[in-house]
Amino acid sequence: MSNSVLIPYNKVPQYQLATVLLVGSEGLGKHGFGKCLIKNTWFYLQVRTATTLPLPVTSDSSRPRIDYICFLIDLTSRDSLKTVEESLKHVDVRYFLGKCCFVALKVKNPEKRAIFIEQIAQLSQQYKSDVLYGSFETEAESAFLAEQILKSVEIAAGLQKNKSPMFLECCRFPVAGEESAE
């Protein structure tokens, strides 16, 4: 049972290398986006893709430590939301402290939308992670998403001096003094 959960800190980090995992149902364009990420990166990056979690146990030893997870959701298919929700159960809690994000795709066709935008917003509030909205249709759009993700990946992999993902999480919510007023 413990093998089926993806844990962030159970492996030794690789020297100067970050690893991103893209999770999303088939046909979204993960491989194309992976290439786009590698093209736009300014540090050494490895991209892995998966349709669902948990990842198969047999290849666990050859797999490097996953620094960042992107959950890709297609707004025109209810199936992608369902696979993402199932995969979320197999992710260790420490990933939600700045080491993962949700990406909502195909936002430009509101007439084909099959899930409510509020469901995505609710997911992001529930798991306290960012949502990025975009699409993979043109090069420019993929590059735009890639840049935003890479900034977070760099911090999550520890490649930026004196910055950790937990640090960024502290900036997200109000300070203790204000919270007591609620």
Binding site: G27, R78, Q126, F173
Partner: protein, 361 residues
């Protein structure tokens, strides 16, 4: 650590950010990032019986409609079994429903139809038309609703000698909640959320360009994305049109993506009675509001059943048409109502959808 609590509330309460938080902490609330409006988390459904059960209005409107429920069904029968195209409108400038104004509009539209006819816009020549505007009874439910207007164009088609109705259109708004117009301009504008048209494409174009030019408004087809169609089918599969007659089965038509060769669409038909059983087990029949969770449970249960039988993932495909025993709805704004009793409830829902588009601004 359990993920934080979600606010899946059953009634119409939106998650409002608290007033004490500083602006910095709003950085990650979804409201800032999305330019899209919120859809309500629950919607009102009507019950099978066309009485006023389930209306949240004041007492005086309730008594007003209760007295004509049977005659109402008669009046609205003209709406049934006709394929309408649905359009949404922006407010009409200087539109009045006084009889002499309506007569004037009729004459103007007739002359426009004549001009179009002479230009040769119609495929069948000699479509001479006379337009009539009149107030439609039975659709005005509350004091807020504007008078529903019916537009008829009668003429002779081709070389026939009999006068036939070439175009039927209805401008209406049923149970509009709240006024979207700013009070100081209210005197000049009339807001009709929904326009239903039944006619050929050329005639519809003539009517729409005339309305747009004359009243300075914008008319566009009201498309139904798969989310809204899922709402409608979830809400209305539970309402049986007529308990004596055999009800039409619930039908979902899916469009297969082009990567799969050899099959273009899938039609999924379910007996109305079985659908009702699923609906009753999901939805508490006493409550009036139908929530988002119930809707997604209903749709996902139907799709999972299909998957368990045929191993075909319907939720990865697009819903293109939806049919229940009350009505049939197509994605591009096509509507066909089968039951006269539920006309006002369906029109009420369309009014709501159209007003949501408008209130995105």
């Amino acid at each position: 650590m359990a993920p934080g609590e979600t606010s899946t509330s059953t009634n119409r309460c939106m998650t409002t950010p608290q007033t004490f938080k500083s602006r910095l902490s709003h950085r990650f609330t979804p409201k800032r990032f999305t330019p899209y409006g919120r859809t309500p988390q629950s919607r009102r459904i009507s019950t099978a019986v066309p009485t006023t059960r389930g209306r949240r209005k004041n007492v005086h409107t309730r008594t007003k409609s209760r007295s004509d429920s049977s005659s109402e069904a008669e009046d609205l029968k003209g709406f049934t079994n006709v394929t309408w195209r649905v359009y949404k409108l922006s407010p009409l400038y200087k539109f009045s429903s006084a009889p002499k104004d309506l007569k004037r509009y009729g004459q103007l539209l007739s002359s426009c139809v004549e001009a179009a006819n002479q230009k040769g816009l119609f495929v069948e020549n000699n479509v001479s038309g006379k337009a009539l505007f009149c107030v439609q009874e039975g659709l005005k439910k509350t004091a807020d609703d504007p008078d529903a207007i019916q537009i008829l164009v009668k003429g002779k088609k081709g070389l026939g000698t009999v006068d036939t109705v070439i175009l039927t259109a209805t401008l209406c708004g049923v149970e509009m909640e709240g006024d979207l117009l700013v009070p100081d301009v209210k005197g000049h504008f009339t807001y009709y959320p929904v326009l239903l048209v039944k006619s050929t494409v050329a005639m519809t174009d003539v009517l729409i360009t005339w309305l747009m030019r004359h009243f300075d408004c914008k008319i566009s087809p009201l498309v139904f994305p798969p989310v809204y169609m899922a709402w409608m089918i979830a809400m209305w599969s539970g309402a049986l049109a007529n308990t004596n007659r055999k009800n039409k089965p619930v039908e979902l038509v899916y469009q297969v993506p082009s990567e799969c060769e050899g099959i273009k669409k899938i039609t999924y038909t379910i007996e109305a009675a079985d659908c009702l059983r699923v609906w009753n087990s999901i939805h508490d029949s006493k409550s009036d509001m139908f929530t988002e969770e119930e809707m997604s449970t209903f749709i996902s249960s139907l799709e999972e059943h299909f998957y368990s039988l045929f191993r075909v993932k319907l939720n990865a495909m697009q819903l293109s048409c939806v049919g229940t025993s009350l009505c049939y709805i197509g994605r591009d704004g096509i509507l066909k109502i089968y039951s006269a009793e539920h006309v006002s409830c369906i029109l009420r829902h369309l009014t709501e959808l159209s007003m949501e588009h408008f209130s995105l601004v």
